[in-house]
């Protein structure tokens, strides 16, 4: 079944089916709503934030560690308090969300592209190339992601680009394996035979015909992986091997506030913790339902 190309009036298109199936589960709808809010907050962070927490000139250490609701010098209030540099936590969370989501999504997309290309070409051409790629994938997947990322950061040094590189390196193998599995099944289908008989170029066959049919499981894996990447970045930041400290992601905000947990200044890590939690939970809720909707047989 190829997705959405012929629309017959009165009959559901596959897309409509997916949408209606998805909406059948109230928990998933809730997750989707939450995720939408989170994404909106991240995208419009500069508009809705009372302060630009990345502009050092706007911060003042004299405002540091104020509890939630304290008056701010510009006449407003620090609704969620401030951190140890005098950053407004609310603004910092919006901006942090932006960074976390950006890191998660960019690394996932890059990994997806690399993984898809490697997996599909491996499946299509087979032979030595396939053996080689799959060996690398096997080996890599047998290593815990945190370990690979840690070693990479140790070797590459710190910085946003390097964290993304590490996350991509960690993730691409998942996609390569998943897409190869799906592609091996699709390869034996008639439409592929047909495409080959038409003497279409390999790249055309792989990307125009094979790829779209392998996409559904990939979307599920990718959704889960975005959440995974965000969590992994947070952990790296916690271990002191992540992003620059003046532009904190959610993970870094939590790590910064971690040292204030015992002292009763809970807000410095509690609120970013909640934001991270909501983000990951909402992504996972959506992913869960997508998994059931897109492919009932694909269950981990």
């Amino acid at each position: 079944m190829t997705p959405a190309n012929t629309v017959v009036r009165g009959v559901e298109t596959p897309f409509q089916r997916v949408v209606s199936d998805f909406l059948a589960n109230p928990v998933a709808v809730f997750g989707l709503g939450l995720l939408t809010l989170v994404v909106l907050a991240a995208v419009f962070a500069p508009v809705i934030s009372p302060q630009n927490p990345y502009d050092l000139a706007q911060l003042d250490v004299m405002d540091s560690r104020l509890p939630p609701g304290s008056p701010a010098p510009n006449g407003g209030r620090f609704w969620l308090g401030t951190d140890d540099q005098g950053r407004d936590m609310l603004s910092a969370i919006f901006y942090g969300l932006r960074i976390s989501l950006a890191v998660g999504v960019i690394s996932t997309v890059c990994a997806l592209i690399i993984g898809l290309t490697m997996g599909l070409t491996a499946a299509y051409f087979g032979g030595r190339f396939e053996t080689f790629v799959m060996r690398v994938v096997d080996i890599q997947l047998s290593f815990p992601a945190i370990l690979i990322a840690l070693i990479l950061i140790a070797v590459l040094g710190q910085g946003t680009g390097k964290v993304i590189t590490a996350l991509v390196t960690v993730q691409w193998a998942y996609y390569a394996r998943t897409v190869r599995g799906a592609a091996l099944v699709e390869k034996r289908r008639e439409y592929m035979e047909a495409a080959r008989c038409l003497a279409l170029s390999p790249s055309r066959i792989v990307f125009r015909h094979l790829l779209p049919n392998c996409l559904p499981p990939m979307i599920v894996v990718a959704t889960v992986q975005v959440a995974g990447a965000i969590a992994l970045e947070a952990t790296l930041s916690f271990l002191g091997l992540g992003l620059p400290i003046t532009e904190p992601s959610l993970g870094l905000l939590i790590a910064n506030g971690y040292q204030y947990l015992l002292s009763g200044k809970y807000w410095i890590s509690f609120f970013p913790g909640i934001a991270l939690l909501l983000t990951i939970v909402s992504i996972n809720l959506v992913a869960d339902q997508l998994r059931d909707v897109l492919n009932p047989r694909l269950q981990r």
Binding site: F143, P144, V155, I254, N284, L285
Partner: protein, 317 residues
């Protein structure tokens, strides 16, 4: 043989990588040292040779089971890691035990009653377990159970006794177990959530299979259907995941060990990265790769024991 290649490639990559980060002598040496002392120190650590020569010295040693001496500890890097390994293994095994003992029954429950209150709350809980960052949960556990309630110690490992006269373990005394509970729970959380979801999914699927329906139709008791037929069917994927996840546990132990000051090898790795103690970093990786190879082998053997249809010689995929 493939494993040997992996070991070689890994060691080379890390060797070059750590070399690129910086010269450890800059961190180690007394800043008041003069040039002669500096050169002497560089020579004693073997850092004066070109990189390829250093690597060959390392390889030569590795063939004789010597992975070099730690720059910082003056003892053999392998020895250091082996000394710390029992603590990490104990932690990882305890975490796995907690995950399995709690995860499979909870997953079964959720799978059998997917729409009940229990089933739904178990699934909601498992999403939380998936989503909460390990380090944050660790500190919360310390806050609640050690600082506020004073039930359990906040950190460290309890007294150890020698198992088989060789391996120091701490689970043999109540004090040791008390020290183990919080870090093991912390480390177990993610896998607990994973096992719950896996078991639920497997149960769900198994209940729809013909042979289960047939067993039911034959009038077998519910507990027998579940205990024998359903459980058997979901065991294989679970064993695979346990095997895979055990490796991840060893990796994620790095975080738990930092939070709970657990003297395992993950903590050693972080320290060694900070000191650029290359012999230890390389040795750590080689030991971990070796461990994974063994774990995979064990999983394959377990496979064939669980399911006679699978032979070890079968290739995967």
């Amino acid at each position: 043989m493939q494993s040997v290649v992996v070991l070689l490639v890994m060691s080379l990559l890390v060797f070059v990588g750590v070399y690129a980060v910086g010269n450890p002598i800059d961190i180690l040496i007394n800043p008041q040292a003069d040039q002669a002392e500096r050169e002497q120190a560089i020579a004693t650590l073997g850092l004066d040779k070109p990189l390829y020569a250093q690597y060959f010295v390392f390889l030569g040693g590795a063939l004789h089971g010597d992975l070099g001496k730690s720059f910082v500890h003056a003892t053999s890097a392998l020895g250091l890691i082996l000394e710390r390994m029992p603590a990490t293994m104990e932690l990882a095994l305890s975490a796995m035990l907690i995950a399995v003992v709690l995860g499979i029954p909870l997953g079964l429950l959720a799978g059998l009653k997917p729409n009940g209150v229990a089933g739904r709350s178990i699934m909601a809980g498992s999403i939380l377990g998936f989503s909460l960052p390990t380090f944050w949960v660790g500190l919360m556990l310390i806050m609640v159970f050690a600082v506020d309630l004073h039930w359990l110690p906040s950190n460290g490992r309890g007294p150890t006794t020698l198992l088989f006269g060789l391996i120091p373990v701490s689970f043999t005394s109540w004090e040791g177990i008390k020290h183990l509970i919080l870090p093991a729970t912390n480390l177990a959380l993610f896998n607990l959530a994973l096992l719950i979801r896996l078991t639920r999914a497997g149960t769900h699927e198994a209940l729809l299979q013909d042979y289960v329906k047939f067993a039911r139709a034959k009038g077998l008791s519910n507990s027998r259907v579940i205990g024998v037929h359903v459980l058997r069917n979901i065991l294989i994927p679970i064993v695979t995941v346990i095997g895979l996840q055990f490796g991840a546990l060893i990796g994620f132990a790095i975080v738990t060990e930092s939070v709970f000051a657990w003297p395992g090898m993950g903590k050693l790795l972080i320290d060694s990265i900070n000191f650029l103690d290359r012999p230890v970093i390389v040795a750590y990786l080689l030991v971990v790769v070796f461990l994974f190879i063994i774990i995979n082998l064990l999983v394959d053997i377990l496979y064939s024991a669980l399911d006679p249809r699978v032979r070890i010689t079968d290739s995967k995929g």
